[in-house]
């Protein structure tokens, strides 16, 4: 299920100098926004929910998920170096599950910590808003990682499709077409945040909690399962 060497290689690829800077950009931006909002309008639950909900959970988490999820496998498939993993007596299932765990851990670290810190800066976790969004970021990280890792095994343009999903489907369509929200990791995660936060917090999801949990588990499970299948039959691009 887990291979140390695969994990080490994946961590080094994800946390290489350039990529780590990209991964840090959005969390730093979130903290700057949090400090600015707090200093201009003081501790305010409404502002906290807005910043954490519409910027952090809606944009930062999926974008970091795209970078970590696709970055955990797509570059190796692209440049052919995946061959060195595939030509080993190592079940391909292990390669996927290891890479998924690495992607999840990277996404969680780069989203939950800034989320919690920003939440405390914004309103000192009043109404449990910071905690609720941190939980949402954690579960969303898991689902995004699985979905984007799958995307990385399916398409050479995984990052582009990932960005399209994260920015256009979840943010734009989600705001315009109510139905699109039902099929949105962000909304499923919000359902968890809604149930975790205090009663005074104004966090609402379009999806009921049981449905959200089922959909999160299903997306993660199916994404992983299909990524394993894809890698099992992955044929190396032929240059002939």
């Amino acid at each position: 299920m887990y291979n140390d060497t695969v994990a080490r290689l994946t961590y080094r690829a994800l946390l290489g100098r350039r990529r780590v800077l990209i991964l840090l950009t959005l969390p730093v931006l979130l903290l700057i926004i949090a400090v600015a909002v707090r200093s201009f309008s003081g501790a305010d639950d409404r502002a906290a929910t807005d910043v954490l909900g519409s910027f952090a959970l809606a944009s930062m988490v999926p974008l970091i998920g795209v970078i970590a999820g696709t970055g955990a496998i797509a570059p190796e498939i692209d440049d052919g170096s995946i061959v060195y993993l595939l030509s080993k007596p190592l079940p391909r299932r292990t390669i996927i599950t290891t890479k998924l765990l690495v992607a999840i851990s990277v996404t969680i670290v780069f989203t939950t910590i800034p989320m919690l810190v920003a939440g405390y800066i914004l309103n000192g976790n009043s109404q449990g808003i910071a905690g609720a969004f941190t939980v949402a970021a954690a579960v969303a990280s898991i689902a995004y990682s699985a979905v984007f890792l799958l995307l990385g095994t399916v398409s050479r343009n995984a990052v582009v499709f990932g960005l399209v999903y994260a920015l256009i489907w979840e943010s734009l369509f989600g705001n315009l077409v109510p139905g699109a929200r039902t099929l949105s990791i962000q909304q499923w995660a919000l359902a968890l945040a809604e149930s975790t936060a205090g009663s005074g917090a104004d966090i609402t999801s379009d999806v009921a909690l049981p449905a959200a949990v089922i959909l999160l588990v299903a997306a993660t499970g199916l994404g992983t399962w299909y990524a394993i299948r894809r890698l099992t039959v992955l044929t190396v691009a032929h240059d002939d």
Partner: protein, 305 residues
């Protein structure tokens, strides 16, 4: 002792047939897979490496299919043609990672041995991104040897190597073959293959064109009819003199080109006789150029042979 069996194997991609009904056994010793670019060598090696399923037929290691049997890799060492190889690692880290992925009991020692074998110990602490092409090739080689495989598959291993590196790799492969390992490498250069391989398999346009030791292949390649384009001060007089000689089998006068197209069947005799005959009939030769010396035409001759 491990033998690769390729039995009636074909592989197509959509409408394109890359490998067409090939049957061959690759046993211990060094085998060269020779063919022009695009002949299907890589596709064949990918099938032997378990990276492609044959569309028809079978590819097995002894009697176990390779496709989707990860355990095969305990016996196979692979040197891919593509360059992607975790450039952010050092050569030493890369070989060590390969040893670990094989689950070897002492990966550190195995990696050191492999790096010594390819003489990369000195550069092992440098990042792969700083390596020359030849050094990358040697580190790839070390990663393929780290688990002492009985089968070694190399896709165009000599590409981009300088003569010294080439000699070194040839020596290494020869030694592996002498040790009883099954070594298969692909190349589109006859000289490379005949210097190294004890056995040659020729692939042209996805088909198995010839098989044997290098002398047989070399003879097949030089004994074919050669075509020449000749221009002279008097083409018709020269044509008359040439057709009488048994070294030619056909002459065409191409008025548009203003040249003779000569088909020579006895290559050494023709090259010796041509200037002599020209002198005898008092004709000056202006152009003598082989019109089909490209490797592709040599290979396509082999297919029809």
């Amino acid at each position: 002792m491990t033998t690769l069996h390729i039995t009636k194997a074909s592989r197509w991609f959509g409408n394109v047939v890359a490998v067409n009904d090939i049957t061959m056994d690759i046993g211990p010793g060094v085998t060269g897979l020779l063919g022009p670019n695009g002949a299907g060598k890589s596709t064949l090696i990918h099938m032997m490496s378990g990276f492609l399923a044959p569309s028809a037929g079978s590819v097995t290691l002894d009697d176990r299919p390779i496709w989707r049997h990860a355990e095969s890799y305990r016996e196979i060492g692979l040197v891919p043609e593509r360059e992607g190889m975790y450039d952010y690692l050092t050569g030493g880290e890369f070989v060590l990672a390969n040893a670990e992925l094989h689950g070897l009991p002492d990966p550190g020692a195995a990696a050191r041995t492999a790096l010594e074998t390819v003489e990369m110990t000195a550069a092992a602490d440098r990042r792969i991104s700083t390596y020359s092409k030849g050094m990358r090739q040697r580190v790839k080689m070390a990663s393929a040897l780290v688990h002492q495989p009985s089968v070694l598959l190399l896709d165009e291993p000599f590409n981009g190597m300088d003569p010294r590196q080439r000699m070194h790799l040839m020596g290494l492969l020869r030694r592996m073959g002498d040790e009883g390992r099954t070594v298969l490498f692909s190349s589109h250069i006859l000289e490379e293959v005949e210097q190294l391989a004890t056995h040659i398999e020729v692939i042209v346009a996805g088909r198995h064109a010839a098989s044997g030791d290098y002398r047989r292949i070399r003879r097949l390649m030089t004994d074919r009819p050669h075509r020449y384009l000749i221009r002279s001060t008097d083409d018709r007089a020269l044509a008359g003199a040439l057709i009488v000689d048994p070294s030619t089998s056909g002459i065409e006068f191409d008025a548009a080109e203003g040249a003779l197209l000569v088909q020579a069947v006895d290559f050494p005799r023709f090259t010796a006789q041509l200037p002599r005959l020209a002198r005898d009939v008092g004709v000056r030769l202006l152009t003598v150029s082989p019109s089909d010396e490209s490797l592709e035409s040599v290979f396509s001759y082999l297919v029809s042979a």
